[in-house]
Symmetry: C2
Subunit: 161 residues, 2 copies
């Protein structure tokens, strides 16, 4: 299978949520939700910068990792992890399949479902992306010391539950 000519990757969000000097942010400065969003956008932009030229966005990276760690997972379960509808999981899986990164195999126990599997190429992709993303994440977290980092992770997980 010849790899498709890849359209240049364009993230939806190109611009940071700027801290404009001299502006009054009012109640926003007290809200966890606002701080969360700003930090998340900054991380997203850093992800994009660190993986420039690759078409793997954060949700796509998540999908690759999940399929890699859970071979045979169904499209519906993948959709649940990503927080998207079944139809979206379809489109996503098609996208990976067209690029030879994921293969669908009939689930042995349920003939309605597909089991998703990384191809050899998908394995290589997830390994190389993981290296880049872990390095980026550590770099971003470098403003925190180890203890702060662990604490942040734990507080975020509490909040997400």
């Amino acid at each position: 299978m010849t790899p498709k000519p890849t359209a240049p990757y364009r993230p939806r969000t190109l611009a940071p949520m700027q801290r404009v000097a001299g502006l009054d942010y009012g109640v926003l400065d007290e809200l966890l939700g606002y701080a969360l969003r700003r930090a998340q956008v900054a991380m997203f932009l850093a992800f994009h910068a660190a993986t420039r030229g690759q078409d793997i966005t954060p949700p796509r990276f998540t999908a690759l990792v999940i399929v890699g760690a859970n071979p045979g997972i169904s499209q519906t379960a993948l959709g649940n992890v990503l927080g998207i509808a079944r139809s979206g999981a379809m489109v996503l899986t098609d996208w990976f399949q067209a690029r030879g990164l994921i293969a669908r195999r009939r689930a042995p126990d349920d003939r309605r479902a597909w089991g998703l599997h990384l191809t050899a190429r998908g394995e290589r992709m997830v390994r190389s992306m993981t290296r880049k993303v872990v390095a980026l994440d550590r770099r971003r977290a470098a403003v925190l010391n180890g203890e702060e980092r662990r604490q942040l992770l734990s507080l975020l997980n509490k909040l997400a539950a």
Copy 2:
């Protein structure tokens, strides 16, 4: 000005990023970026639930607060705060103007620019939304103690810088 018939609000994201039992999340569990995204989606959904029936999304709430605290701000500056292009700030301002929440007045010093101002109605809206959003934010943060909350806020702001 008669208030427009408001289309029912439908957030882009309806579903949480589920923690699916028995699944291996691999490297994702070590990534600040992933935890950040999950916490942010959870907060977004809580925002939606707490303001059900209102068409004010998080970015719109941000816009109202910023215009309220900085009367006369330009569309371009507002776009920078939100991290969107000028054209998007236009569409957004049109949306508020059509609902009588924001008024455009010519900037006295620069005849190219508009100064944005809350209308009386906009003021009421931002006050009522602020009450709801602050209450929601506190509720969400209730899993943390006061010290943890302050720490999280400070760590997030470090990360967003």
